[in-house]
């Protein structure tokens, strides 16, 4: 009787069966289920937001397929062979660029987060998100590749009266925002690449604006027109929607920057800590004003703080991953993180934000909320919102 070289009992099925064939475009493992979140029923099914599963993300790059979405009239299908970017207005030489001409210009790749102005706005209202995806899922981070807007503006030549650049998308809402010229020349990209491949349709394929650190609404997707003007155009989204209503009835307008923020993604709401002992507290920090300088983590609801380790490289206006090893003693604990950026600005509490800005929602809810987000761990290891 022949004896098998490897007893079947100690080798799993996959070690005794030929695996799957090659494929032209890879997909994730069939065992992975991480997904964007959006309400199944909607009065405008093509439109709205989907939230990124931050609790599942490793490192600082959001997979393109899980990048949050926000659009106003659906995702257009645009053929890059016929897509053009027109630049006109207060310029010396109005010009149009095909995608292939844009790709001949000097390019740059940069890692930046995009955060919806309304991210975590429900936290401001007091409707605490049960999971980090629900509370903070309207932010993501990618490597973006494209042409500097300053390069394109030099190509067309600015006239002395130029002060703002209107960017317009080729979607059914022709989404449009005005951007101050100083920012346009500072670090704005006209991007065609995302995480090593072409932009995803939901992210603006084939061309988008990328305005680092500012509310995501200004990073106009499906970009097809740039109009250099001497004053803001007062589109709906800058005249009304993305304004911040204060207690006295006045509203802040053109409040672009997303301030220093952070949130613990693991352990986070909806998760279960399996038994006492060591575990890694991990999360994401970001600031629209530059680099994250420090993240502190508290496990006692903010009474005492310890400095978390920041994963290098720490990049300006990008996600920064922070980590802190922690030994859970099985008692109730409240975990919270607090970021500080290179300007010295420290992430505030919700109470401080409410004290400064009140409780009046703008036309689309609260914008620019960046309060600390606590998570409670029960004695049973359940992680819940506070």
């Amino acid at each position: 009787m022949a004896i098998a070289a490897i007893p079947a009992a100690v080798s799993a099925e996959e070690m005794r069966t030929l695996g799957a064939a090659r494929r032209e475009y890879g997909e994730r493992s069939q065992f992975e289920r991480s997904a964007r979140l959006f309400p199944p029923a909607s009065s405008t099914p093509m439109t709205g937001a989907s939230r990124s599963p931050l609790q599942d993300q490793f490192g600082i790059i959001t997979p393109s397929a899980l990048h949050f979405e926000r659009h106003h009239s659906g995702v257009p299908t645009i053929d890059p062979a016929t897509h053009e970017l027109a630049i006109h207005g207060l310029v010396e030489r109005p010009q149009r660029f095909t995608m292939s001409l844009l790709k001949r210009l000097p390019s740059v790749s940069r890692i930046h987060f995009i955060e919806c102005g309304g991210n975590a706005g429900r936290e401001h209202r007091g409707n605490s998100g049960a999971t980090v995806q629900q509370s903070h899922g309207l932010v993501s981070c990618s490597e973006w590749t494209g042409v500097r807007l300053s390069t394109l503006l030099r190509e067309v030549g600015l006239k002395p009266a130029a002060r703002w650049v209107l960017a317009e998308g080729a979607d059914a809402s022709r989404h449009a925002r005005s951007i101050p010229l100083a920012k346009a020349l500072e670090d704005v990209l006209v991007a065609y690449g995302q995480n090593g491949e072409a932009l995803r349709p939901e992210q603006g394929y084939p061309l988008r604006l990328l305005v680092p650190g500012w509310e995501g609404n200004v990073s106009v997707k499906w970009l097809h027109r740039l109009h250099v003007i001497d004053q803001p155009m007062m589109t709906r989204d800058e005249a009304a929607s993305y304004t911040d209503l204060m207690p006295d009835g006045k509203a802040r307008a053109f409040s672009f920057e997303m301030e220093s923020n952070s949130v613990i993604t693991s352990p986070s709401g909806g998760q279960q800590v399996e038994g006492r002992g060591w575990l890694e507290i991990s999360g994401l920090a970001w600031s629209g004003r530059g680099r994250i300088e420090q993240v502190d983590v508290s496990t006692d609801g903010g009474r005492t703080w310890r400095q978390a380790e920041l994963q290098a490289p720490v990049l300006s206006k990008a996600f920064t991953r922070f980590r802190l090893p922690w030994r859970w003693d099985g008692q109730e604990a409240v975990l919270v993180s607090r970021s500080r950026d290179e300007t010295g600005y420290v992430q505030p509490t919700r109470e401080a934000i409410v004290a400064a800005r009140g409780m009046k929602e703008g036309p689309d809810g609260f914008n620019h909320y960046n309060g600390m987000k606590p998570w409670k761990i029960t004695r049973e290891g359940m992680v819940t919102h506070v």
Binding site: S73, F97, M234
Partner: protein, 185 residues
């Protein structure tokens, strides 16, 4: 040092000889000259920008009388018969005087600072499922209907490229520049 400078001059001369110098702009940076010229006609076909001073508004005109028909046909199903809003679809009418109250009602009439914004948004994005179907006259007319319902323009006012930018919105002075950082530690 002398040798270094000589080498640099040599390098500049070699590069210049090998490749015609690209055009330089005023600040000395390279201009690549890759873009295709955009003609006046092409700009006119693309450009739907409307500025608060009225620049970019098209020919055409309309009043609330015609606007009522446009509104009933294209807008009322979502925004309600009187512009009162319905579910996810925002109210367009009402709310004036409520901004400083505890229950502010934010509409075109109570909140929007510029009348051109209404024309621009309707033309670019509405009706939601069929943007672009309205003529310039119809956009002027339905803008007039919304402004008249909000009692911002007198009954019968005809809006066109000259009269629309002159409409004074009640909340014109209701906006402030961004004061952040504003939250104390």
């Amino acid at each position: 040092m002398f040798r270094g400078r000589t080498f640099l001059l040599f390098l500049v001369a070699t590069v210049a000889a090998a490749d015609p110098a690209p055009q330089s702009s005023i600040d000395g940076a390279i201009r690549y000259g890759l873009g295709e010229p955009l003609t006046t006609d092409q700009i006119a076909a693309l450009n739907i920008s409307v500025l608060p001073n009225g620049e970019g508004l098209p020919e055409g005109k309309g009043s609330a009388r015609e606007g009522a028909t446009v509104y009933a046909t294209h807008c009322a199903a979502c925004h309600g018969d009187e512009g009162e809003g319905r579910g996810d679809f925002v109210a367009l009418v009402g709310g004036q005087g409520t901004l400083s109250s505890t229950q502010p009602v934010l509409t075109v009439g109570s909140y929007w600072p510029t009348a051109t914004t209404a024309f621009d948004y309707i033309r670019r994005a509405m009706p939601y499922t069929t943007p672009g179907v309205l003529t310039a006259d119809e956009v002027y007319a339905v803008t007039a209907w919304i402004l008249e319902k909000n009692q911002i323009i007198a009954p019968g006012t005809v809006l066109d490229r000259r009269t629309l930018p002159k409409v004074r919105m009640p909340n014109k002075d209701g906006f402030l520049p961004d004061p952040r950082p504003d939250v104390a530690r």
